[in-house]
């Protein structure tokens, strides 16, 4: 890795100001696991890194407010995994966290970094989009709220400006909604997935009232599958309906191949995993 300057501001606002020049060689550093990898590969060659480690303590807090689960951007993935608040308000997040990378990476990587990195293979973006989450940002002048569904602009690209940092993630509580996240890894258990599918269902008896379904890893950005959601709306999720939803998803999603599987293989995975995820969600208590 090439030398760079490391600065540690005390507030998020100050950090955003330090990023305000728009110079692509000045980048934020949260947990740093992805940034370190990119620097080692020579993809990222920063002149200056703005570490967020020393910013306000509340950025590392998990809390409940206004019927929502609020996650500070600097909350580590292992804190998420162990949090009784998260387990209570959105158990699907805890289940998804347990199979996310490995223990050491989860101990260091942060929620904000995980979302801002915009690698489509990440596990939480599909889960949080399916739950209807949004992010609150901070920039030198103020900030804004962005639905997570609209955060992703492309492979490793977000709608965040260079001087804008995620401060907090707001997640509507899961409540009676049933949810599941399934992924397929083609090499080892903790490998990057070839496909991820998150499903959140509003149910009435054994019928699906509303479904939110998001695919990741097989597309350039985590993507809502509205055709599949439509196929499930108001229906009992029997084999016929699930097959129809899977076909609709595979036809509509812009699936791309990578080293984890070809596009054709991933389309087949999507058909199979979508049905499995819906079944798992229906079988779960929350």
């Amino acid at each position: 890795m090439i030398p760079f300057e490391l600065v540690e501001p005390r507030t998020l606002r100050e950090a955003a100001s330090l990023l305000a020049s728009g110079d692509p060689a000045v980048r934020p550093l949260a947990g740093g696991t992805a940034v370190m990898l990119m620097m080692k590969m020579g993809v990222l060659r920063p002149a200056r890194l703005v570490s967020l480690r020393a910013v306000e303590r509340r950025c590392s807090e998990i809390r409940e407010a206004d019927g929502e689960l609020r996650l500070g951007a600097m909350v580590t993935l292992s804190a998420l995994e162990r949090s009784p608040i998260v387990k209570n308000l959105a158990p699907v997040i805890v289940r998804a966290s347990r199979t996310l990378s490995n223990v050491r990476v989860r101990n260091v990587a942060t929620v904000g970094g995980h979302l801002a990195h915009a690698d489509p293979h990440m596990d939480l973006p599909p889960v949080l989009i399916a739950l209807g989450a949004s992010v609150t940002t901070v920039d030198p002048e103020g900030g804004r709220t962005i639905p997570l569904e609209t955060l992703y602009a492309g492979y490793l690209e977000t709608a965040l400006r260079s001087n804008e940092l995620i401060a907090e993630v707001s997640v509507p509580v899961q409540g009676v909604r049933r949810a599941a996240y399934l992924k397929c890894t083609t090499r080892s258990a903790d490998d990057w997935p070839a496909l991820g599918v998150a499903v959140v269902l509003d149910t009435e008896g054994d019928a699906v009232r509303e479904a939110r379904i998001v695919v990741s890893a097989a597309t350039d950005t985590p993507t809502r599958l509205s055709a599949a959601e439509e196929a499930l709306r108001g229906a009992r999720a029997d084999e016929k309906i699930l097959r129809r939803a899977g076909e609709a998803a595979a036809a509509a999603a812009n699936v791309v191949g990578d080293e984890h599987g070809s596009a054709a293989y991933k389309r087949e995975l999507l058909r199979v995993y979508l049905a499995r995820a819906v079944k798992q969600a229906l079988a779960s208590k929350g």
Partner: protein
């Protein structure tokens, strides 16, 4: 000393230390180049294999993905940290007893991760062990022996705790 080097102070295996570190060094470089500690070693360089495991403020991290400068003010522990009371701890004894290594390159990482696992979950099932250690690779493939070693270490720790309770 290269441009932008920074003096950091931290606790290393129980001892207060300071070091001059270039900002682009990772924790493995700090431990090897400044303190001659080679237990944490970089292998995959991507946080996947666990050979570079160290504990920062009690949490296991991949030293290859952890900036050395960020160790400032923390408590760092490596496999070189002597067990309480000296000698080898239950996990190390169990690894030897079960022959849970061949070349030994991955062993420091497996020992530290196994200790953390048993701290968090004193009575892990085989599934728990496999799951927790899925981010550690042994290229000699001594996985069956490693799993037996962790189970044995769990029993040794319980025995130790029971003895300590009796003495109390």
């Amino acid at each position: 000393m290269s441009v932008g080097s920074k003096t950091i102070r931290f606790t290393l295996n129980g001892e207060a230390v300071g070091a001059e570190v270039p900002p682009h060094w990772n924790l493995v470089e700090l431990l090897q180049n400044r303190f001659g500690l080679y237990g944490a070693r970089e292998s995959c360089g991507q946080g996947l294999c666990g050979c570079c495991t160290a504990l920062v403020d009690g949490r296991a991290v991949s030293g290859c993905l952890y900036l050395a400068a960020l160790a400032d003010g923390t408590r760092v522990e490596t496999v070189e940290q002597p067990a309480a009371g000296g000698g080898l701890d239950a996990v190390q004894k169990a690894f030897i007893e079960c022959g849970a290594f061949q070349c030994g390159f991955c062993t420091p990482g497996f020992v530290l991760m196994s200790r953390k696992l048993l701290d968090e979950n004193p009575d892990p099932t085989e599934d728990d062990i496999r799951h927790y250690l899925s981010g550690n690779l042994c290229r000699c493939a001594t996985y069956p022996e490693i799993i037996e070693a962790v189970k044995l270490a769990a029993r040794l720790r319980k025995k130790r705790d029971a003895t300590a309770d009796k003495r109390r």
